[in-house]
């Protein structure tokens, strides 16, 4: 059984448990590193058009309806779902495809309903006698432990991310524009096989936060913040790095080590069964003990990490309110990025996988503050 058949088999088991006859898996063509991408997850096909949907009956072959019609060639090549309807009239073809299932009555569920506009939701619901039951939580649970393919892609993406950052360290120089540097890193990672990237990269003598690259010129003494999130076949990872142009000061090294220690505490705490809240508490305790408890909350930080698309986005944002329990095989990024008054904002973060021994990084290099001495 190939990986896509296996994924659909697990969904069908979930459908059986929930009493569903049919699952509608919807995509609006947006691919976010923070969210699940269920159409791509079950088909291997990256939708480009504004509407795509997989109809997965509990018994019978799935159908992929995709837009635009011109994309049929790529879909035939890439999709594990072989019954394809490539169309420029999603509404009409979706209706026909549902009708062709001849399921009456039909209890149906939906994954990706959160992506729909009101108009799309009304259109899809109108094909059924009762509104579709949301199945996103079930999907997240089914897909929360990465399968072999996801882990392989995550490892490849992590390698690309690290090489991208190494490239940053090689090419950065005072006088460069922020977006010149960001473009160099992005281009390099795509030359290594990344098919997408989310990137924040900015610098200042004292950062308040990280942001998208601008036309600011880099200078000696700048602290460069880089949040690098490449994907390989849709599977994202993220690394968070900080580098100083010139020698890092003792205070910078001391405070950066504090955040590394916080991350390591979180990684030790992150065993199966632990809640996200407990992992966050372990990290915050290290920072609080050092006197920076106030800075463990917005606006001085956002979250201590988060899930990563392609499949499940579990465990979600790493925040104190999150009671999600970690399971072995989950992957996410752990990042105690935050503002420290003496040094400004720092980024430190690794993509990790949950193991019985704690959170194991997918990256190879030891975390550390880099100095660019040229």
């Amino acid at each position: 059984m190939d990986v896509y058949e296996s994924r659909m088999a697990k969904l069908r088991q979930g459908m059986e448990t929930s009493g569903l006859d049919l699952l509608v898996i919807y995509s609006n063509g947006c691919h976010s590193f923070l969210a699940s991408d269920a159409v791509r997850y079950v088909t291997g096909f990256k939708p480009m058009g504004p509407h795509s949907a997989v109809l997965l009956p509990r018994d019978g072959d799935p159908i992929l309806i995709l837009t635009p019609a011109l994309d049929s060639v790529r879909a035939k090549k890439r999709s594990a779902v072989k019954r394809l309807i490539a169309t420029d009239d999603f509404a009409a073809d979706f209706a026909r495809a549902v009708s062709s299932q001849r399921l009456h009555p039909c209890k149906a569920g939906v994954i990706g309903g959160w992506r729909m506009t009101r108009g799309t939701r009304d259109l899809i619901n109108s094909q059924f006698t009762v509104p579709l039951a949301a199945f996103d939580e079930e999907f997240d649970n089914i897909a929360r432990a990465r399968d072999q393919l996801e882990l392989q892609l995550s490892e490849r993406a992590a390698e690309i991310a690290e090489r991208g950052y190494a490239r940053l360290l090689e090419v950065v120089r005072p006088g460069m524009l922020e977006y010149e540097l960001a473009g160099e890193v992005e281009c390099y990672m795509k030359s290594l096989g990344a098919d997408d990237n989310f990137q924040l990269m900015s610098a200042s003598q004292h950062n308040l936060a990280v942001r998208a690259p601008s036309d600011r010129r880099l200078d000696v003494g700048d602290v460069i913040l880089a949040e690098i999130s490449p994907s390989v076949e849709g599977q994202f990872v993220q690394i968070c790095r900080t580098a100083v142009i010139g020698p890092a000061t003792d205070i910078q090294r001391e405070k950066y080590q504090l955040l590394i220690d916080a991350m390591l505490a979180g990684m030790r705490a992150g065993v199966p069964g632990t809640t996200v809240r407990e992992v966050v508490q372990a990290m915050n305790e290290v920072v609080t003990r050092a006197g920076y408890g106030k800075y463990c909350f917005p606006p001085y930080m956002r979250a201590r990490g988060h899930g990563l698309g392609l499949g499940s986005a579990s465990p979600g944002d790493l925040m104190l309110e999150n009671e999600t329990r970690l399971v072995a095989g989950m992957t996410f990024v752990i990042h105690p990025n935050q503002y420290i008054p003496e040094t400004g904002y720092f980024l430190v973060g690794e993509p990790v996988v949950v193991t019985d021994a704690g959170l194991k990084p997918l990256t190879r290099r030891q975390p550390g503050l880099d100095s660019i001495l040229r």
Partner: protein
């Protein structure tokens, strides 16, 4: 703002609530310069007084960066949408009609429901058509941003051509173009190219060694929220390009303010003949471009939308030939009162 507020006054609107989503931010960016990189943002535009911009919910950390991207002074953080709307509406707009934009086509349904629930006791109308009409003619600042986006995409195309000429695979050439666009300041870059033996235009989805000649790519770059695009055919013969160039020139020559979009399509049809025209229109002949990669008007037969002065159009022709890629060329034109100007310098 003067123009928008004059129209608001004429329609009896006390304020606007304008949403922008990262997939569709035209009205929001037009009014505030700001556009969200992820999720959605909201601007409250009263008939008089200061605009309020909510860049994202719970986005306290990101406020300093957001403030640098907008002329709006009052940039705020809210914990929930409901809190935002109630506080905004409470700022002097207790009665009267408000205008709503940006919720129909891109805002997720649950947010749409939440917005309407917040407005349950408020009289509101959609102002999407009102704002779209105001935006039809680009203002000087907008044209300037588009010129920069056009420059970026043209430079990126140059890098693609050079890389390909130096032996790069199709994918390598596209990646090189992507990098060049971002090094020149593009906040986003999209590319479709012929990357495998099917000859179909596709995004880069991994490494590929395919190298074809000719080689066709479609590139788009975003600068400050404004899109420019360019279709490139590398290595085609003059003969194979002739029909496409002739049709494209015919559309460009025809384009000026006051004529209908279907006249451009007809010009292409007259140039190509029926059979080749049917082939070309399968890919589309063009559309408006600017704050969206694809905005009105569509260049199609039967579309009687009138071209506005200082609108920008992306015009294109894709035709098959005996090669894998076929040919695909385009131009980006600024519509003038009696003619049009190529923003790519190829008129």
């Amino acid at each position: 703002m003067r123009i928008v507020r004059a129209e608001m006054a004429r329609r009896g609107l006390r304020a606007l609530l304008v949403f922008g989503h990262y997939t569709d931010y035209q009205d929001l960016c037009y009014l505030t310069q700001f556009f969200p990189a992820a999720n959605w943002s909201l601007a409250f535009v009263p008939l008089e007084g200061d605009i309020i911009l909510l860049p994202k919910l719970k986005g306290g950390r990101d406020l300093p960066a957001a403030r640098a991207r907008t002329w709006v002074q009052d940039v705020r953080n809210y914990r929930t949408l409901s809190e935002a709307i109630h506080e905004m509406l409470g700022e002097g707009v207790a009665d009267g009609k408000i205008g709503l934009a940006g919720i129909e086509h891109s805002l997720p349904a649950n947010l749409h429901d939440e917005v309407l629930a917040c407005l349950a006791s408020v009289s509101y109308v959609s102002v999407e058509k009102m704002l779209a009409e105001i935006r039809r003619s680009l203002r000087p600042r907008e044209i300037s941003a588009l010129r920069r986006a056009a420059h970026i995409v043209k430079m990126a195309a140059g890098v693609l051509e050079r890389a390909h000429a130096e032996g790069a695979s199709n994918t390598e050439a596209v990646v090189a173009a992507d990098g060049e666009a971002r090094r020149l300041g593009a906040v986003d870059f999209r590319a479709l190219a012929v990357l495998d033996e099917s000859g179909a235009l596709a995004p880069v989805e991994g490494l590929s060694t395919l190298r074809s000649e000719p080689f066709v790519a479609y590139l788009a770059a975003n600068f400050l929220g404004y899109w420019a695009d360019l279709a490139v055919t590398v290595g085609a013969t003059a003969a194979s390009l002739r029909d496409a160039e002739s049709a494209l020139r015919a559309m460009v020559r025809t384009a000026h303010a006051g004529i209908e979009a279907n006249e451009l399509a007809q010009a292409a049809a007259d140039s190509l003949g029926q059979s080749r025209f049917n082939e070309a229109r399968r890919y589309g002949l063009g559309n408006g471009i600017g704050l969206s990669l694809h905005s009105a008007p569509d260049v199609t037969l039967g579309n009687d939308e009138v071209l506005a002065d200082n609108a920008v159009l992306s015009l294109r022709v894709r035709l098959a030939d005996s090669t894998l890629s076929g040919v695909f060329i385009s131009d980006l034109v600024l519509v003038g009162t009696s003619s049009s100007e190529s923003l790519l310098g190829s008129a």
